[in-house]
């Protein structure tokens, strides 16, 4: 067992709060869990050396971290978790919405937390278990049946230099309710954060979800967003990842009720020595579900992207419609992407497609732009950015898209202007 995990377990053993009974089982699993190495398939391409080497136990946490910036043009209900503590004074909330911090949950809320905690997130995620046993605070967000919450809820995780923090988000979207939740993680200095979120989406409910894993540099983050969809539930999720020393995201979408619809778009833009790893698993356990998953990334310099997309269609999940696509653009010869889209189908009456490609510039589009006087080099940049922006355009919240676009554009511009820039169309490293 690794030293890191040993000390995490030791720390967990001292956690003595009302969540202790919830943590017990995970602690037992964690004691038996193999520490991820190259031999563990789920971690084959994502080394944990940066985490093992970073000693945050004695670090002094910088408490003067910047505030969560508002997103201009998006009128959201902001929920700030700074270095592991939910700090918002609770303002007046719209009818049908309840928000409780895990630390200050009363008896009633504690019961409802127990109904959700660990019921959506599979136990195979080792850092999910770490989060189970170490989460110091978090949120229970409850949306009443049929409630339509107009303003998006924005959960901002601010992680300061030296912080080693673990937080949990639990969301229940009642029958026929509608809501939007944004999870945003920010940080750039040496730190470690796990943030896992579990969503139970009731029948006929609609959830719009965003996860912005924007930690960079030495800010290490491992997290997950896990969804359980009841009958006719609709999920529209957009994930955006920048890379850091260690940036890993697991998402699970579980079709638990029939006729549910899931749409997942994910984008990553990586440069220098950054690493970003996205593992997305979709379980079609019942018939008539649909999943549409589009993952696109641009990788520059020596950066590394890992994508593992698995769609598992169980024996009884007839009439499933599922599509999974991963396209990558490599801007340098030293950039790598390990991509593995997997369809595992045990039902015989389904419509499924999947693929992974190293994207090539569309020659016709290039010619079209050039024919209008745009230089070949600029046209290439426009098309490459367009390849990512196509998914930004699909974000249902236009204000959010307008906030994101210039950030992506800026990041992309610095990638494209790097000395390593040499678009290549060689084969991606296949897992």
């Amino acid at each position: 067992m690794s030293e890191w995990l040993q000390s995490a377990i030791a720390r967990a053993e001292t956690m003595d709060d009302w969540l202790a009974p919830q943590r017990r089982e995970s602690l037992a699993l964690l004691r038996e869990a193999p520490w991820p190495s190259r031999k563990v398939e789920a971690w084959r391409y994502t080394p944990l050396t940066a985490l093992e080497r970073a000693d945050l136990s004695t670090a002094v946490v910088d408490t003067t971290a910047p505030d969560a910036q508002q997103i201009a043009g998006v009128d959201s209900i902001d929920l700030v978790i700074r270095n592991g503590r939910f700090e918002n004074p609770m303002k007046e909330l719209p009818a049908g919405l309840r928000i409780t911090s895990l630390q200050s949950a009363d008896d009633g809320a504690r019961e409802r937390v127990k109904d959700l905690f660990g019921t959506v997130k599979p136990t195979r995620h080792i850092f999910g278990l770490v989060n189970d046993v170490l989460a110091s605070d978090g949120l229970l967000i409850e949306i009443d049946a049929a409630a339509v919450i107009e303003k998006p809820l924005r959960i901002v995780h601010l992680v300061s230099k030296g912080a080693d923090v673990h937080t949990r988000v639990l969301v229940s979207v009642g029958e026929g309710a509608q809501a939007a939740v944004i999870e945003q993680v920010q940080g750039e200095h040496a730190s470690f954060n796990t943030s896992f979120a579990e969503y139970a989406i009731g029948s006929g409910a609609k959830l719009e979800h965003y996860r912005f894993a924007l930690q960079t540099g030495e800010a290490m983050g491992v997290g997950g967003s896990h969804f359980k969809l009841d009958d006719r539930a609709e999920l529209n999720s957009t994930i955006v990842g920048f890379g850091s020393n260690l940036s890993r995201l697991d998402t699970d979408i579980i079709h638990d009720g029939e006729n549910a619809q899931a749409k997942l778009n994910a984008i990553y833009l990586l440069q220098q020595n950054e690493l970003f790893d996205l593992h997305a698993t979709v379980e079609h356990a019942v018939p008539h579900g649909t999943t549409e998953e589009n993952v696109r990334g641009i990788v520059a310099d020596q950066a590394r992207a890992v994508f593992n997309g698995r769609i598992h269609i169980h024996r009884h999940a007839q009439k499933t419609v599922a599509e999974l696509n991963n396209r990558n653009l490599l801007l340098s010869r030293k950039a790598t992407v390990f991509t593995k889209p997997e369809l595992e189908i045990y039902a015989d009456d389904v419509k499924c497609a999947h693929g992974a490609t190293v994207a090539e510039i569309d020659k016709k589009a290039l010619y079209y732009l050039q024919s209008r006087g745009i230089s070949r080099a600029q046209a290439q940049i426009m098309l490459n950015f367009g390849f990512i922006n196509e998914l930004v355009d699909q974000m249902p919240n236009e204000g959010l898209a307008e906030w994101l676009r210039p950030q992506l554009r800026e990041r992309f511009a610095s990638m494209a202007s790097s000395e390593e820039f040499a678009p290549v169309s060689s084969e991606a490293g296949e897992q």
């Binding site: 024919s371 209008r372 006087g373 196509e390």
Partner: protein
């Protein structure tokens, strides 16, 4: 302005243009008609420098410049504009960004300061009005999900913004209803000037009722086989192209002008 001499060009090893001659003077409007597959679109592609189109023989000059030596973007800077028969969709690149990049590139080529975004937006909105395209189309991906007619309007919009000196319209009227057709014609007519020339590729006389051509040419099997004035288009409308099969080669008149 434009001079095409004995142009022979191939694609995928197949010779398509087989000795094309055409000369267009400033301010003139030339219509090119001819059966499907005769090389009309190919002519536009070769002139604009599309990859995969190889010039085997001949020369093309535009305003004295050897067009065939230039990159496609340089040909645009030299004043060439091709309104495509099938404009390509580019999702993810907004129409506005695309139009601004094109106009900026032109200004840069002319060593002029680029327009401010606000100024450009005003101009683009104005042009939208002129081609009857709602301004929302500026926000959408280039041609993304546009109907056939909207794509053609977007081509004319680009022409209005770029103010080229030679415009080739490749079947811009195909698939348009009469109102859209009039809009295209008005767009072209508003741009007619003693300095600007047009080559209008069309199958239909009706467009030429609105855009009066100075010359009409018939392209067949990669060559111009007949040239005449506007009345030739009426004749073709009545007779079709059946006569081509019997036309002896020497009847081809190339770039010769009607008396």
């Amino acid at each position: 302005m434009l001079s095409i001499e004995n142009l022979v060009a191939s694609v995928d090893g197949k010779t398509i243009l087989k000795g094309l001659n055409l000369s267009v003077k400033p301010g003139e409007v030339h219509a090119i008609m001819g059966p499907n597959g005769s090389g009309k679109s190919t002519t536009g592609y070769v002139l604009s420098g599309r990859d995969g189109y190889t010039v085997e023989e001949g020369s093309v000059t535009l305003n004295g410049e050897n067009l065939l030596e230039l990159e496609p973007e340089e040909r645009a800077h030299a004043g060439l504009f091709l309104a495509f028969q099938y404009p390509v969709e580019i999702p993810g690149v907004s129409n506005l960004e695309f139009l601004k990049a094109a106009v900026d590139a032109k200004y840069r080529a002319q060593a002029k300061e680029p327009m401010s975004s606000a100024e450009f937006l005003r101009m683009a909105r104005e042009a939208c009005k002129q081609v009857n395209l709602p301004a929302e189309f500026l926000k959408r991906g280039v041609n993304e999900g546009f109907s056939g007619g909207e794509k053609k309007r977007n081509e004319i919009l680009q022409m209005l913004l770029l103010k080229p000196s030679l415009c080739i319209l490749d079947e811009t009227d195909s698939g348009l209803d009469i109102d859209a057709l009039k809009m295209v014609a008005e767009g072209v007519n508003s741009q007619r000037s003693p300095e600007r020339s047009f080559i209008v590729v069309t199958h239909y006389q009706r467009l030429l009722d609105f855009i009066k051509p100075d010359y009409v040419h018939v392209l067949s099997d990669g060559k111009i086989v007949r040239s005449g004035d506007a009345s030739l288009a009426h004749e073709l409308e009545a007779q079709g192209y059946a006569w081509l099969a019997k036309a002896p080669d020497q009847e081809a008149v190339g770039q010769e002008r009607p008396a």
